[in-house]
Symmetry: C2
Subunit: 157 residues, 2 copies
Amino acid sequence: MLRVTKLTDYGVLLLSQMADGDEREACTARDLADSTRLPLPMVSKIAKLLAHHGLLLSHRGAKGGYSLARPAHKITLAEIIAALEGPIAITDCLGHDDCRCEADPICSMRGNWDVVNHAVRGALEGVTLEDMVAGKKVTVPSFPLALASSGSERSGK
Amino acid sequence: MLRVTKLTDYGVLLLSQMADGDEREACTARDLADSTRLPLPMVSKIAKLLAHHGLLLSHRGAKGGYSLARPAHKITLAEIIAALEGPIAITDCLGHDDCRCEADPICSMRGNWDVVNHAVRGALEGVTLEDMVAGKKVTVPSFPLALASSGSERSGK
DNA sequence: AAAAAGAGTACCAAAAAGGTCCAGTTTCCG
DNA sequence: CGGAAACTGGACCTTTTTGGTACTCTTTTT
């Protein structure tokens, strides 16, 4: 159904939890597990992934913990998803080049999928962690996404 | 990876194949299977779904087949995805109301997920079948999606 | 040294995706 | 009328992906 996995769902929850509190204070996986009521192993797994992808900084040893690698308004949803689910690619075609399409003249749709993918990614890059923080409200203007649709000519590149 | 299923991928292929040919000529599942080189049972399954959701008209019996229910520029990618994968909802929360969020004050992010979801759906509604038809090129203008983002110059609430 | 963290991996169960098959029905055509 | 050509509606199965847990390191502080 074109949905994000629970990992991402939880990840955003964790991150927004961290962004909400003392920004430069490191908090432990256990703390996060407690405040979000998610199981510790899950939190641990997600934090590791986020740290590995540069969204969190980790401090090892006693008194260690995690902290945001950047201010909340510089972390986008697109990055979070990419960190927890891999690169955003709407179809299989877009990732690798060994799909049947290339041998097959029928599927010259690839370029078009690419545009769709770009549009979706753009939407996701437009939302930052700060926007998602509990209590805040994101406002979206009437939705101005204008794809050149159906036959209308548009100044290409 | 936030990707669409193969059903959808194939579905778009089938539909664009139909849109490409004689628009008001019914073509059989077998024809489609041949021209797209997809296995017949797959084509059959997908066509059934699309017909069931009003994107295709089906004509039963000998000399039967499928035809587009509407002109190609009136069928959006969002509809195709909805027909083949169910309603577009980025997170679990958005579909049903029995998620843990509602008992839990922590997750007031639901409204924000909703905005994200809306943005993605909007992007998908902006692309029609005609845009995807083989040979055509969709061009997208610089990408003007402007979500009110990151504490910067936000006006108002 | 001991305790409190994170790192890295391996593992498993449940759900979803991907795909096939078959027993009806409907319609056309000779 | 009877058969062939199509769609209809399911059931079914296999493989992959998710979701979640566990266990053994290594690092750091006290």
